[in-house]
Symmetry: C2
Subunit: 174 residues, 2 copies
């Protein structure tokens, strides 16, 4: 199964804390292995780590990464680099090819992305050619990549689990 | 084809403006018809309206809606009400049933949702039983509902369109 790590770039510590936390949590819930954050922001790391502690699994979050080095290291290790951007090729055209890779770094930008990224990425991929959200783009990308199988994911070492129900909130402590 | 309108509840004008705008833009890009916002927030309405003006289509955004009345009116009109919540039934189990409906109001909450909503909704649906983001939940829900066909959507009356490309940014004024 393809291994996915997110690289979040363009994060501004004050303004983007919540959106970046959503990026990380969506990445975790939809099957990614971890997230590198190209900025120092302990608040994001803490929020995501808290969720992992409570809800289980091994998702990691590392801040203060240098994005150029991160991308170069990934490529030198033989991995594939995908950049999600509304300017890229439409997802359905390329997703089968990506599914055949072993290690994929998914770059998720904020509003402005350095032009250099488009050239460094092996694939620039659009989830529709319309403006929406990096969170929704990443979600649809991961869901297509894993063909929906990630939706039934269970997490080891969870302290709490939800018991799906028609109405109301049911959880179990484990 | 099933007609989808979003009802965004629990929005706090200062804190949630960006996340709610992302909810609206994701809804638009992934095939919904419009969004009701259960709070007064002209900033959100303006941001979404600006995107519609530039990128086309007929997506609407109305703020200052009363959520109880909105839900009741929808049900009285024979429509179906879906509430996206991590406590609900898992998406793959119910999506075929939803696809057979004509008019679906999708309730998208912020962090806290009034307990009453669980009872008012015809369906409480989870996109994974894990905490992530209302934006990623909505995106995966819409993408499953429309079976990915929404990804190739084109919008009437657009002033700008993207020409999908391998690397770089190509647009055309129309």
């Amino acid at each position: 199964m393809v291994r996915i790590v997110i690289l979040r770039i363009g994060h501004r510590p004050e303004r983007d804390q919540r959106v970046t936390t959503h990026v990380g949590l969506a990445a975790r819930a939809l099957g990614a292995e971890g997230m590198y954050l190209a900025e120092a922001d302990n608040g994001v790391v803490q929020s995501i780590t808290d969720v992992v502690t409570r809800w289980g699994g091994t998702f990691f979050c590392k801040d203060n990464m240098k994005w150029r080095r991160c991308i170069n290291d990934w490529k030198e290790g033989g991995g594939t680099v995908v950049h999600l951007t509304m300017y890229g090729l439409n997802l359905p055209e390329v997703i089968d090819e990506i599914r055949g890779k072993d290690n994929v770094l998914v770059i998720v930008g904020a509003e402005k992305v350095p032009g250099e990224i488009f050239g460094l990425a092996d694939y620039n991929i659009a989830v529709t050619s319309q403006p929406h959200s990096e969170i929704s783009s990443l979600a649809v990308f991961l869901d297509h990549l894993f063909s929906g199988t990630e939706l039934a994911g269970r997490y080891a070492d969870a302290k709490i689990r939800i018991i799906p129900s028609k109405a109301g909130k049911k959880t179990e402590e484990v």
